[in-house]
Amino acid sequence: MLKEKYQAEIDEILSRYPVKRSALLPLLYLAQREEGYVTETAMQEIAGILKLTPPQVYETATFYTMLNLKPVGKFHLQVCKSLMCALVGSDTVIGWIGTKLGIKPGETTQDKLFTLSSVECLAACGTGPMMQVNDDYYERLTEEKLDRILADLRQTGTSSLKTGPFMWPEPANAVKG
C-alpha cells in the first residue's frame, strides 16, 4: 500500500494544490516509481486517497503515454522517431538496437532488462538522433556510443554518456560562434 509507505510524501504532494484531484498525476508517478508500472490496485488506492471514482483515475492514467499500464524492462529505451530526429537517422538507431538486442519497438528482451519504444518528439531536435532511457537523455547517438551506453547500463545501471543540464551549442562554441 502506498499510503503506509509514503504517507509524508503523499501529504506533501496534496499540500501543493487547493483541489485534491490535481495530485492525481504526481500520485500515479509515485505508484509507477514503486512498481515500475501503474497497477490496478494502486489506481484503486489513489482513487480512495483523492476521493475519486476508479474510472476517473483510469481515464486519466490511460491518456498519458508516460504512465505504463503494464510492466516494462529495467531499462526503457525510448527512441524519438519524429521528423527532426528521423532526418538525422533515428530509424537507423532503432535498427541498431533491433540487431543488438533482438527487439522491435514495443518488445522487451527475454531477460526483462530492455524494453524498446519508438516515441514522438522529446524536445532534443538539435542533438538527434537521441533516446531517453528511464529518466535520462542520450543525444547525438552513434553506433559506438550506443554500444557503450548499453554496456554501461548492463554493468552499472546508468551511463556517464547521459546528458547533463542541456545547452547546445555548448558555451565555448557559442562564444566562438
Partner: protein, 435 residues
Amino acid sequence: MKTYEPILLKNMMQPEYAGSLPEYERAGGYQALRKVLGKVTPAEVTAVVMKSGLRGRGGAGFPTGVKWGFLPKDYQGPRYLCCNADESEPGTFKDRQLIERDPHQLLEGMLLACYAIGAASSYIYIRGEFVLGAKILEAAIKEARAAGYVGKNIFGTGISIDIWVHRGAGAYICGEETALLESLEGKRGLPRVKPPFPATHGLYNKPTVVNNVETLANLPHIMNRGAEWFASIGSPPKSTGTRVFCVSGHVARPGNYEVPMGITFRELIYEQAGGMRSDKKLKAFIPGGASAPFLTPDHLDVKLDFESVALAGSMLGSGGVTVMEEGTDMVWAALRLMEFFYHESCGKCSPCREGSSWLVQIMRRIVNKRGRMADLETLTDLCKNIAGRTVCAFGDAEVSPILSTLKHWRHEYVTYIHAAEAANLIRPEPAGAKH
C-alpha cells in the same frame, strides 16, 4: 558572421556558469524583483510589459501585457499563473535549455508576472520527460525560498508568492493552454471550449494566466532595462525583442541561437547555424515548429518576425526551424509529421480524431505505392474539413505538413502514384466511385 547581444542566454554563455542562486545574483539576478515588488504598482508593471511589445514565445504570439490585462480587476478570490514548460512542438528545444541552465531567470520572471496579475500561487507545468529540468527547478525554488524570494512576505512587503513544479506525463496537447489547465487539474488533457477564456475561468475556474518559459524569462530584463530598450530590439513595432531559435535538421551546427527578431532565415541558417551540413543544397525548411507550413529556398530572405512569416504563408510559431537538404523525400517528411499528429490528437473533436487517422492511412497508402490520383483530392478535401473546425488550433496545425508539401512538391506525390500505377498495384476503385 554578425553577432548579437544575448539577453536570455547571456549568463549561460559563460562557460563556468551553472545557474545556482549565488551565480545568478552575481550576474544581477533578482534586482528587477527588488526594484519592482511593493515599489511599482502591478498595473504599472503590466503597462511596461505592454509598452515593450513582448509577445508570447510559445507559438501563438499573443501580446503578453494584453493577456494579463484581461484578468478581472475587481475579482477578490485567488488568481493563478501557470508557466507553460510543456515544450512538445517538434523542432523546439529552447525552454529545456532556459530551464536547465538558468532556472532563476525563469523564477524571477514568474515572480514578476505573479506580482503583476496578483497571483499568490503559480505552477510550472513541465513536460514529464524533462525529469532533469524538474529536479533543477525544484532545487532552484528551494534556494529561492531559503533566500526569501519565494514564499511568504517577500522582502517584508507583505506579498506572498509560491511556485510549484507539476510534471506532465506525455501528451503534446497539454501545451495548449486550456488542455494544460485540465491536466493540472488531474484530468485528461482535453482543450476547453472558449470562451470563457482562462483570464476569467482558468485553473479551478479562477482567473489564470498561462505564459511560456521564454516569455517569462524576458520579464526581468524588461523591468531592469525598460520597455523602450526592449521595444528597440528586433523588428518593431510588432515583433520586439530576441527569440531563441532552435535550428535542427541538415545544418552544420544545429542548436539554439538567440538573435533579434527580423533577421532573415538565410542569416539564421547559413551564418548562425553554419549552413548546410554537406554539399547538398537546401530543399525545404519548417519555420516555426511542426505546426508551421513548410517553406522553400525562395523564402530564405523572409524575415524571422511574426508578420513576415505569416505573409509568406507560414508562421513563426515556437521558433523551431527545421532544415531539409536536397534528396529529402517530402511525402515521407509530411507522413512523419502526420504520424505525430495522429498519435497526439486528443480525441475530443471528431474532425481531428477521425481526420488524422484518415490522413495517415492515405499518406501511408501513397508511400507504399498503393495510392491513386484521386487520393490527392481526398487529402485536400479532408484537410479543409479539419482546419478551423476543432476546439483548439491542433486541427489547423495537423493539416499544414500535407497542404504545404502538396502545394510546393505535388510532383513528388504524383511520382509515387505513377509508380503505383506502373506497377499495377492500385486497389480497385470502389463500386460507384465518381473519380
